[in-house]
Symmetry: C2
Subunit: 222 residues, 2 copies
C-alpha cells in the first residue's frame, strides 16, 4: 500500500468520530507505530484538524477535505459572491460558516491582491440579490474592456435621462446592485441603481484613467 493511499484512508477512518489508538491503526495498515505518528504529522501539516490526546488516542474533527481545485477568475468571482451572499443570511450557523470559509479562501488565494481592474465586482451586505441583474453582463464586460456605456436611466423620481458614462465598479449594498461611474453628462461621479437602468449599450469608444476620473479618485473623494 502506498503512503498516499494510506493517508487517504487514515483520513476517512478518523472521520467516524470515534477514538483511534496509534497502535491499532498501525496494526490495521501493517506499518509501525512510528509511521502512524509521522502520518499524523503530515495530515496536520496539510490542514486536516486531527487531534491526538496522550492516554486516549486520535480523533478528527468532522470535516471534508477538498482536493486542490483549479478555478477560472469567473469561478473565483462566483464563489466570493456566493459566500458574501450567504454571509448575510440571518441563520447564524450559515453566516459563521460562510465567513470562516471566506477567510480560509482569502488565506489560500495567492497574495496577488486583486487589482482595481480585477475588482469589477465588489460585494457588500445585501438582502435582495435578484433585482437589477439584467444589465450586469454588459456592464461587467464594459468595465473589463474599458469601454464607455450609453445608459438609458430612470431616476427614482421617474425622470428619464440618457447619458454616456465610464463604468468603474459594480457594488451591492443595502438592497440593490449599483454601478459607480464617471458621468460625462454631469462631469462628475455618479452611482446608478442597476434596476433602474432601462438599457445599457457598449460604445466602441475606449477610455483610460484620467486624473480625477478614476476609481481611486472616487474612493479618495468618497
Amino acid at each position: 500500500m502506498r503512503r498516499s493511499d494510506r493517508l487517504l484512508e487514515l483520513m476517512t477512518r478518523l472521520r467516524d468520530g470515534r477514538i483511534h489508538r496509534a497502535e491499532d491503526l498501525a496494526a490495521r495498515f501493517g506499518v509501525s507505530v512510528r509511521t502512524i505518528y509521522r502520518d499524523m504529522d503530515t495530515l496536520a501539516a496539510s490542514g486536516i484538524p486531527v487531534e491526538g490526546t496522550r492516554g486516549s488516542g486520535y480523533r478528527a474533527l468532522d470535516t471534508l477535505t477538498l482536493p486542490p481545485l483549479s478555478l477560472t477568475p469567473a469561478e473565483i468571482e462566483a464563489l466570493q459572491l456566493g459566500l458574501a451572499i450567504v454571509a448575510e443570511a440571518p441563520d447564524p450557523d450559515l453566516k459563521a460558516a460562510a465567513l470562516s470559509l471566506t477567510e480560509k479562501m482569502d488565506a489560500a488565494l495567492p497574495s496577488e491582491a486583486p487589482t482595481d481592474r480585477d475588482a469589477a465586482l465588489a460585494v457588500y451586505p445585501f438582502s435582495d440579490a435578484a433585482r437589477g441583474f439584467s444589465h450586469m453582463s454588459t456592464i461587467r464586460a464594459a468595465i473589463r474592456g474599458r469601454q464607455k456605456l450609453r445608459l438609458s436611466y430612470r431616476r427614482p423620481d421617474d425622470v428619464w435621462s440618457f447619458r454616456t458614462i465610464r463604468p468603474l465598479q459594480i457594488d451591492h449594498f443595502g438592497r440593490v446592485w449599483s454601478l459607480t461611474a464617471w458621468c460625462e453628462l454631469r462631469n462628475d461621479f455618479r452611482v446608478f441603481r442597476l434596476d433602474l437602468i432601462e438599457s445599457a449599450d457598449i460604445l466602441p469608444e475606449l477610455f483610460v484613467d484620467e486624473p480625477g476620473k478614476s476609481l481611486a479618485d472616487y474612493r479618495a473623494a468618497g
Copy 2:
C-alpha cells in the same frame, strides 16, 4: 531545485498567457525536455488546465489554484448554497461559472453521496433569499436532531394554526424558503413557508422514520 518548486514555478510561468516551448522551459530550469513533458503530465493530472499543441508549444488557461481545503459540513453547506444562489443570477457569465464550479466540487467531494440526513438543505432556483430565514437555524437543528417542532403558523389567508410537525427538509424554490414536514395535525405531508412561521420551538420528543412518513415517501408520492 526541488521538483515541487519547479512545478509551482511552471504553473506561474504558464499563466502569463504566452506560448512556451518545452525546450525553453527545460533550459530555464536546467532539466531535460523529457522531464518537462512529465511535469506537464503531472500538472494536467492535478487538474491544472495546461494545453500542449504540437508544433507550437504550451499554454495554460488563466486560472488560480486553490490548495486542499479542509471544510466543516457547515462550510460545505454554505458553499453549495452560495453557488446555488449565484447560479440563478441573470448574468450568464456568473451563472456559468457557478454551475461549472458546483460540478467541480461535486466531483471532488467524497463519493459518499449525501444522505437524506445530511441533505437537510436542498437548494433550488430562487430569487429572494432574504425573507424567511429567521427560523432556519432552529429548523435545521431540529431536522438534524430528528426532533419534532411546535409551529405557530399563519396561512397565506391569515388563518392561524398551531401544530406539531416532523421536519424533513428545507427547500427553496420560486420566491420563498419552505419547510417540508409531516404534520401531525393533518396526519399528512405539508409544506410551510418559512416567512409565515411565527414561532418554531423544538420539542424534546424525538421521531424516527416511519413507513409513509419519511422524506423518501414524500418524494415517492410527490
